[in-house]
């Protein structure tokens, strides 16, 4: 009976694996298609976009991209903004998350509700006042202007708060017995414990910052301040999706490479982070 059940379970696992692989392939097909098109001549793609094998093959789309003198500048801008924003989000979210998880202060519940309410306000609703405020400060076309609107992230605070709440209180109590200050407890005990949560939040922030388009478009209006998404879009001709499809796809692959690399290196944390934010 047990052997029969384990046989069924084995087949069940295999079926599940087969379905998972199939779904993964289906998810991957558009990506393969994009890469294949990026390796085909534009003239060929104007006639047909069919096929996953890049024949005839060309690297011209990538060569044209790399020859542009402005591309390195856009990459550096994106890197500064993405790294800067990630660090700031981690600092703000971990401090605020710890405060909500462990500290008692007046109006804590009301402030928490206000913070969480931020999740319900769409970005577009605050876009114009935000833009005008930055204009009145004269800080558009700076890296700071690209980072600042995204530093206060309610979901980040919530994620960190959930993580800190799960840390046993005994650890803090032990530190308190040793006369550790509140900041020392946060810095020496809680932060090292929260590396998985910080890594996850950091990765999501970095990816969001790297892919962002709308705010950089209207804040960094000087071409020297373009981020890589806005910059690569700016070089497209009016009918790029017919006459320059290969170039568009090469831009897409090029712009997403850092994110793909990041994902490959840190995928363990990303998966854990998704599970953590969904399960808690």
């Amino acid at each position: 009976m047990t052997a029969a059940r384990s046989g069924w379970a084995l087949w069940g696992d295999r079926l599940l694996l087969a379905v998972t692989v199939l779904v993964a392939i289906l998810w991957l097909l558009p990506v393969i298609w994009v890469v294949a098109m990026s390796l085909k001549p534009n003239a060929v793609l104007q006639q047909s976009t069919w096929g996953f094998i890049p024949m005839p093959f060309t690297l011209e789309n990538y060569a044209n991209l790399l020859q542009l003198a402005t591309v390195p500048r856009w990459l550096v801008n994106s890197l500064i903004v993405a790294v800067g924003m990630t660090l700031l989000v981690l600092v703000v979210s971990s401090l605020a998350g710890y405060a909500f998880a462990r500290l008692q202060f007046p109006f804590k519940r009301a402030i928490f509700v206000l913070m969480i309410a931020g999740l319900m306000i769409p970005e577009q609703a605050v876009f114009l006042p935000l833009h005008q405020m930055f204009a009145s400060w004269g800080i558009h076309n700076t890296h700071a202007a690209l980072m600042m609107p995204r530093v206060a992230v309610p979901i980040g605070v919530f994620l960190m708060m959930q993580f800190f709440r799960a840390v046993p209180r005994e650890l803090e109590e032990a530190a308190e017995l040793d006369h550790a200050s509140r900041f020392t407890i946060f810095w020496r005990i809680m932060l090292p414990l929260s590396v998985p949560a910080l890594t996850t939040l950091g990765l999501f922030t970095f990816i969001h910052a790297w892919n962002d388009f709308l705010w950089p478009l209207v804040s960094a209006t000087d071409a020297d301040m373009y981020t890589v998404t806005v910059g690569l879009a700016s070089i497209q001709g009016n009918f790029a999706f017919t006459e320059g499809l290969g170039s568009v796809m090469a831009s897409a692959v090029f712009a997403s490479l850092p994110i793909v690399l990041l994902f490959l290196i840190f995928q363990r944390f990303i998966v854990a982070g998704v599970a953590m934010s969904a399960g808690k």
Partner: protein
């Protein structure tokens, strides 16, 4: 004495030279059309360039290399879809360009907010003859009896034809010209004959709402009946009147009879036409040279290609057209010499309007249209009067929103089988709401 004269001459020369240098200005140009520095970055002769991006890049290079004032144009490109958001944002962020490209359909949004420099007096000083502009182009560039832009082209809707397929269907006359329908009934009848003879679709057209090609066709058909979809003063819409209903019913019939594939997007429609799977593609002037080059190159099944006007199917000749234009965005901090330099650049562009017309777009200057060099360009003889029959939508704010509203209701006709009257009523209601907001300044 002799020595002092020489010194005086030297001083005068120095003063004149430095005076000239002092007048030199850097002009910030913002535009779409893409970046093709790799191909045309060192081309200083516009006649050696091709395509929108190539020609405007070479024109800028040529101006920088040849202008007498020593001015330099610095180009900032932006993606077409996001261009107007970026341009609008510059009025807040501070780096307002000195010259910017603008569609005529968008200009009212900027004029109503007083964001453009009136150009009439500046054109007069610079010797730009506005009387040389074809009427539709001058109308596009004007608002409130003032000229706000240098029109650069008219880009109208055309019928692009695969002559071999039309011949197979028996629609080519003895003199080699293609026979086109003269009424909706004849159009449908010819379409059925065509499909029976060739096994291919009669029409290929973008039908998936990105471009709204069929809205442009619809506007053309309403104008052909002597009516209009928007009142000239931009205060009311007329989208569900009898003329609009006739046009919409005809368009729906094209799909219902299977004469066009409703599943095609813009690239799909192009692929169908280039691959010899459609007799006619309804598309703009901007593809004339591209299709011509591909047909001549022999790399696509399309071999024998002609471009013609949209035929008068419902009365008089009339066709939708928009314009690319150049404007000088208003900037109180702009120095007078920068404005002068910007006007000098516009003058140069106007003088070289023929080069731009090689893209396939229609020239806005009657003198260029009448010139032998323009007539010698491929297919231009067939469309030499397009500028005369071109019609622009009234200069109303929020035209893009109006266009998008009509587009989504129209798509319902062939994608979900909505009845023409229902689609038009819905469009009418949406457009009236947009106009109400525009007219109360919302």
């Amino acid at each position: 004495m002799h020595r002092s004269k020489a010194l005086a001459a030297l001083a005068l020369t120095t003063a004149l030279t430095t005076g000239g240098a002092a007048g030199a200005a850097e002009i910030q140009l913002m535009r779409f059309f893409g970046d093709c520095q790799n191909d045309y970055g060192s081309v200083n002769d516009a006649s050696e360039a091709n395509g929108e991006c190539g020609i405007i890049t070479a024109l800028v290079n040529e101006f920088n290399a040849t202008n007498q004032g020593g001015h330099t144009v610095t180009v900032q490109t932006a993606e077409w879809g996001a261009y107007y958001d970026l341009l609008t944002a510059t009025f807040q962020t501070g780096n307002i360009p000195d010259v910017a490209v603008m569609h005529s359909s968008v200009m009212p949004d900027f004029v109503s907010r007083d964001l453009l420099t009136p150009l009439g007096p500046l054109f007069q000083e610079a010797g730009i003859d506005t009387a040389d502009f074809v009427p539709a182009a001058l109308q596009n560039a004007s608002a409130n009896d003032e000229v706000y832009a240098l029109p650069f082209d008219l880009h109208a809707l055309l019928f692009h034809i695969n002559v071999d397929l039309m011949e197979q269907a028996g629609f080519v006359n003895e003199d080699g010209t293609v026979r086109l329908p003269t009424s909706p009934e004849e159009f449908i009848e010819m379409g059925k004959q065509f499909e029976e003879a060739t096994g291919q679709n009669f029409i290929a057209v973008e039908s998936q709402s990105a471009e709204g090609m069929m809205v442009r066709f619809f506007n053309s058909l309403v104008w052909q009946q002597g009516s209009t979809t928007l009142a000239d003063d931009g205060t009311s819409a007329n989208l569900n009147g009898p003329e609009a209903l006739a046009a919409a019913t005809f368009i729906k019939q094209i799909y219902d009879e299977g004469l066009a594939d409703p599943g095609l997007d813009y690239p799909g429609a192009e692929q169908a036409f280039l691959n010899g799977q459609a007799g006619i593609i309804i598309n703009g002037t901007w593809v004339v040279d591209s299709y011509n080059a591909q047909a001549e190159g022999g790399s696509v099944p399309l071999q024998n290609y002609v471009a013609t006007n949209v035929p008068a199917l419902m009365g008089e000749e009339a066709v939708w057209a928009d314009s690319h234009m150049w404007v000088i965005p208003r900037d109180e901090s702009r120095a007078p010499e920068e404005q002068e330099a910007a006007v000098a650049f516009l003058t140069f562009l106007n003088d070289n309007n023929f080069e731009w017309s090689r893209t396939g777009h229609l020239s806005v200057r009657q003198s260029v249209i009448d010139s032998p060099e323009f007539a010698a360009l491929p297919h231009r003889a067939n469309i030499s009067n397009t500028s005369q029959i071109a019609r622009a939508v009234p200069t109303t704010q929020n035209q893009r929103s109006i266009y998008n509203a009509i587009m989504s209701d129209f798509n319902a006709m062939w994608l979900t089988g909505a009845e023409p009257q229902a689609a038009l009523d819905s469009a009418q209601s949406q457009v009236e709401r947009i106009l109400r907001r525009a007219n109360r300044g919302g």
